[in-house]
């Protein structure tokens, strides 16, 4: 009896707690903030000077300043919480923060998940880093020129199509910087705020970013999409309108020396324009919409077709070309390897053991260096001086394809030749061409294994922006999405490529011994 009462009491308490919790869950965000007298705002600390840590460990910057202004307007205290691009929306959705001022660009896709506050408070876009000595003043000057691009940028395809540049796509921004430094490209097109960071450091003093900003992305304050946040949203809209009119944004941008301040100055002028009747030209209408001239909403994405193949003709052709190029490159590198391996093994026939061993160890030294190190060393290092040495062979003129072909085939050829050298040495016979042939046949399995590894390693050439399936696939992922589809396609492509090559190589090797067997039996 006692127990039952206790259980009842417990259940009652539980019910009470749940109802209390749910009433809290469905409370209006703005009144909650005002009740607790604190607004929790997510800001960045990895994006100076928009948001960063001061030497004392405080969060400071353009966006933290705006956060403090928001809190002041609401009459509460601001509690800043550091967020990253990866977790910001999640923390907002989980109620860890009430709003974000964290370099969020307004896109249609993100609008499906969170609520963007308009007017926007800042913009970033694409500019290009060029050497001060170059004569590039406008985007049209880049037509037909080699331009470095980071594979993860969303604008690559549009830029290539709009300005007919010759793209040099690299896997990370470091490599893009290296390629620009070593004059593999005349410009590096990238996000203007990131380039702005870079230019602040002394080492880039010979470079500039003077090209006008294109493909702008507008930055928004962000709140949750649910109905509870609506009142907060309206309040923030009126705050940002105020910031536009009284030039607050411009003032704080000047305080933190942000780039592209002229844009904010223009905005202030626009937001202060009045109609003939004396009203502000830019203001919300009854549906909480702004006139087109005052603030742009992100454009809708083109209607997606439900067809299983989600890409347009341009992208499809790009993919097919890349797959073909990858196959051709692999074929070329396998053939070149066999040629090199044959030449290397001829050295094994030398009768003088000292000369032989010296040559062999020279060949073998490069085998203990990772191919990717050699690729970078040759491409960005040795071969990048062809500008100052016009006499250097045309073949070595810094072409990524040539470099990758040479490095990968030399690496594998050295592996094969050391295998053959071991086989010849174990035979203890006179070193002549027939011993070489016997060794070649005996070492068949090793040679095939080496060649198959080469087929797999040839994917590495994409690190140097050799036209390749990986590069094009990852670029498409960055601009179009469809990550799982594209990456699985890439995986399948390589799976069947390796299968194709290994079966063909095995088949060809099966042909050789039959031709030579009578000779061996003699």
């Amino acid at each position: 009896m006692m127990l039952r009462t206790l259980i009842n009491l417990f259940l009652f308490a539980l019910l009470f707690a749940i109802s209390g919790l749910s009433s809290q869950l469905y409370a209006d965000t703005l009144s909650q903030i005002q009740d607790r007298e604190v607004i929790r705002i997510g800001v960045k600390v990895d994006y100076p000077p928009w948001g960063m840590l001061s030497p004392e460990g405080d969060i400071v910057g353009f966006e933290p300043d705006l956060a403090a202004l928001v809190a002041k307007e609401l009459g509460v205290k601001a509690k800043l919480r550091s967020v990253t691009s990866g977790n910001r929306f999640q923390l907002l959705e989980e109620g860890e923060v009430d709003m974000l001022i964290a370099t969020v660009g307004d896109t249609q896709q993100r609008r499906e998940r969170v609520s963007m506050i308009t007017p926007h408070y800042y913009r970033s876009g694409v500019t290009a880093l060029t050497a001060k000595s170059s004569n590039i003043k406008n985007w049209s000057d880049l037509s037909g020129e080699k331009v470095c691009l980071y594979g993860g940028s969303y604008f690559n395809k549009t830029l290539i199509q709009d300005y007919q540049i010759e793209p040099l796509i690299l896997f990370n921004t470091r490599d893009a910087q290296l390629a620009l430094l070593t004059k593999k490209c005349v410009a590096w097109a990238y996000d203007n705020s990131a380039i702005y960071h870079l230019l602040k450091s002394d080492s880039w003093k010979d470079y500039q970013a003077e090209l006008p900003i294109i493909y702008p992305i507008l930055w928004s304050l962000v709140v949750n999409k649910d109905l509870d946040s609506l009142s907060l949203k309206r309040k923030l809209e009126s705050i940002t309108v105020k910031w536009q009119r009284d030039a607050t944004l411009y003032k704080y941008a000047t305080k933190w020396l942000l780039p592209d301040r002229a844009y904010l100055a223009d905005r202030t002028k626009l937001w202060n324009q009045k109609t003939d009747r004396g009203d502000y030209l830019c203001r919300f209408n009854a549906d909480y919409h702004l006139p087109e001239a005052c603030d742009q909403y992100p454009k809708d994405k083109p209607v997606e077709n439900n067809y299983w193949w989600p890409f347009d003709q341009h992208d499809t052709n790009w993919l097919i070309l890349a797959f073909t190029q990858t196959l051709l490159f692999t074929l070329a590198v396998v053939i070149l390897t066999l040629v090199f391996a044959y030449i290397f093994t001829l050295f094994s026939l030398l009768s003088n053991p000292y000369i032989r061993k010296t040559i062999n160890s020279i060949i073998n030294v490069q085998r203990s260096v990772p191919p990717i190190v050699l690729l970078y060393l040759l491409y960005f290092g040795l071969f990048s001086y062809h500008y100052s040495h016009p006499l250097m062979l045309d073949l070595l003129s810094g072409g990524a394809v040539t470099t990758a072909l040479i490095v990968l085939s030399l690496y594998t050829a050295a592996g094969i030749s050391s295998l053959l050298e071991d086989a010849i040495a174990s035979q203890n016979k006179r070193r002549q061409l027939s011993t070489l042939n016997t060794a070649f046949l005996e070492g068949k399995h090793g040679i095939i294994a080496n060649l198959i590894n080469l087929v797999k390693a040839s994917a590495m050439a994409s690190a140097l922006s050799v036209p390749n399936a990986i590069l094009v696939t990852t670029s498409l992922v960055a601009s179009q999405g469809h990550t799982l589809f594209l990456m699985t396609l890439l995986m399948l492509f390589y799976f069947f490529e390796v299968m194709l090559f290994s079966k063909t190589i095995e088949y060809l090797f099966r042909l050789i011994p039959q031709a030579k067997r009578p000779q061996l039996e003699n």
Binding site: G86, N87, Q90, E94, F171, N172, R174, D175, Q177, L178, L181, T182, K183, S201, D202, S203, W204, V365, S368, V369, P370, P371, I372, V373, L374, Y376, L377, F380, G381, L382, S384, K456, A457, A459, M460, A463, I470, T474, V477, T483, L484, M487, T488, L490, M491, Y494, F495, V498, M499, S502
Partner: protein
Amino acid sequence: MTIYYLISLFPVFMQAFSLNIVITLCAMALGIMTGLYITKLHLSRFKLIQLIAKSFLLVFRNVPSFVLLFYLALIIPTQFSLASMHFQIPVIAKAVFALGAPVTGFACGYFLEARTQNKAFQLAPWSQYFIVILMASTTSSIIGVKEIMATANATIAISGDSQMVIPIYSLVALWFISCSLICSWLIKRFDQVLLQRFNNKAQLNAQEGDKE
């Protein structure tokens, strides 16, 4: 001037290189364990399980680790939550998984072959493969692991001086050359000892057999 600068880079490179070693060791451990398991499946009496093992092996052998690296980097999110618990997947784990695949293929081949032959256990094939994976671990710089190659790239990019390219990459190349020289010398000595023991044992067994 350059030489002093390069020497000053040594501790940084050392630290970055330790990451390469960690990645390689983890990938080897992971690959050997998966390899053992797949070998076990491969020897199963059931045709279906054999087929599954074979197809797994085919995938591990045929997909380049470089492609797998990208696959994992792009498909698996870096952080996700389950029931308000946050999980972070570091890029280094993705590198370990990607490099573990070729090790699995290699280990499987080794175990299947070892069953049919009675040979002395030799470290050489394993250590050679260790070096192969150690060298391949430099490719993880591409997905953002701060190992030795990424450190070299960063050093050059920060210096903003294209003259640094050759000395710094040469340093990395030298690093690997000396590392593999030391490794192969050590392994050779170790294997000599192992082979001797095996031969002694075989001799002993033979003598005992004679007595009977």
